[in-house]
């Protein structure tokens, strides 16, 4: 390992990377090599972004679209966690369930969430149901996989201790597998939130009212590339905030369990 890098240092380096990227982007966009509609400059995108914050486009302001998207995302993500984590733990404990579910699950998880779009629209409609299903399809696999891994890699000595104390299965799952899997589950939730949020644009292809993805699709239809890019920036920023929030929760839980040094 390298020498420890201080927090201020690491934040500074992060900004440096961002500044280089924006600088390059700006240079390329203003060089005249590419037409502005192909590659809008950061300044144009920023202007568009600020405008969208206040003025409606495709039926809502950017915060309005974000709120609609976030609600869909939250439903899909929470649903994925509520079903995926228990399923993963159960698969880690009951060998038979593992054998039954694993092959099916391993095949299905390679199908990209966006491939479900036609069926999501057919089965659950274009209201709230369809988009939630697509986000669910993105967010579900990491929940299952990480809970499963967590349960599989529990210290076998703790399982032996639990068995020796006569602990019934349901209690072993809740009081040994679950707490021991918390770090793995949380990192699964981080990946899951990322993938769920990423699936948003696909999910909102079939939405007819509001959402960042919907806004971007409308922007594309109107050849407003700045709108599309403003949407990308918004998705990136919210994704970053989401990941930071989950990372903070992870750290708080670790500290409460005393596993942080």
């Amino acid at each position: 390992m390298n020498k420890q890098i201080s927090l201020a240092h690491s934040v500074g380096l992060g900004f440096l990377g961002l500044a280089c990227f924006i600088g390059l982007w700006h240079g390329l966009a203003t060089s005249g090599l590419v037409p502005a509609v192909f590659l809008p400059s950061p300044v144009d995108v920023y202007d568009r972004f600020s405008t969208l914050l206040e003025r409606r486009f495709a039926g809502a302001t950017l915060p309005g679209h974000l709120a609609a998207s976030f609600q869909r995302f939250a439903y899909g993500f929470v649903l994925a966690a509520l079903i995926g984590i228990p399923l993963g733990l159960l698969m880690g404990w009951y060998q038979v369930l593992d054998e039954i579910v694993s092959p099916l699950f391993d095949a299905l998880r390679f199908v990209a969430p966006i491939a479900w779009v036609p069926f999501a629209a057919l089965w659950f409609g274009t209201g709230i149901g369809g988009p939630i299903m697509i986000i669910f399809a993105g967010a579900f696999p990491p929940c299952v996989i990480n809970a499963y891994r967590g349960a599989k890699f529990v210290d076998p000595r703790l399982i032996e201790a639990a068995n020796m104390l006569g602990t019934p299965s349901h209690r072993v799952i809740r009081e040994v597998l679950l707490p021991s899997s918390v770090p793995s589950i949380i990192s699964g939730l981080r990946v899951s939130a990322g993938l769920g949020w990423q699936s948003l644009v696909g999910a909102e292809l079939i939405v007819a009212s509001a959402g960042v993805g919907y806004m971007m699709v409308q922007g594309q239809a109107n050849v407003s590339t700045t709108t599309v890019m403003a949407g990308m920036v918004a998705i990136g920023l919210v994704g970053l905030a989401l990941d930071s929030a989950l990372r903070l929760i992870e750290r708080i839980i670790q500290r409460r369990r005393g596993l942080d040094q």
Binding site: D155, R157, L158, E160, A161, A162, N163, M164, L165, G166, T167, P168, R171, E175, V176, P179, S180, R257, G258, L259
Partner: protein
Amino acid sequence: MGVIQFQDVGKIFGPKTSGFKALQDINLEIRDKEFVAIVGPSGCGKTTCLRMVAGLDNPTAGVVSVDGTPIKRPGPDRAVVFQQFALFPWKTVYDNIDVGLRNLNVARREREARIADILNLMNLTQYAGHFPHQLSGGMQQRVAIARAYVLDPDVLLMDEPFGALDAQTRVVMQEELVRLARKNPRTVLFITHAVEEAVYLADRVAIMPRAPGRIKEVRDIAAIRNAENWDSHEKIEDVMDLESFVHLRTHIWRSLREEKAAQHA
């Protein structure tokens, strides 16, 4: 009651014909409330003996039984104290001790009373709300012993419980275990590689040289301990200085060494 019986017990890890022969022809009976130590070098199979009584391993030959019933699975009637403590890191001391009692569906009031008693007995009362990682190794093993003792098990199985502790802490724990075992006798099967520890703690010592594990000899300690009144000495070092102690220790030590020498020749 808590009579442990090994009848012609063998254990092979891996395939029956080509696997590793860990134990062979083990015959041993541990009487009710008797404290028996199995002493031997690492890898001799002594821990496997304990794990079979616990129900964590099954014999490939013969029968291991408690009170005449062959053992099928682990259970709180045979509480284990593991070398690496195996406390639940996310549970407090109190909650760790509570697990087994909850599994036995003991009423809340009685659980509280029994845990308070055992905490008091093990000098842990002020640490009830602590998490294991906040405690030293010695304290953690005290919690593990409390977790086993609180179940009032017929049989107590201790797998090198003091092996992970430093020498000073080990001595304190040995003295405490003697105190506990005299006050509240149980059938105890104690596994160790330390000859002194076995002689100091046990009523009988089974000597098990290197694999394939067989019990070479079972040495009676209790008769000599009582005749020489070891328990009148409060400190372990005073007992260890007694001629009768030194004599037994040397005998067991030689018995283990002779086997090794014979194998090397």
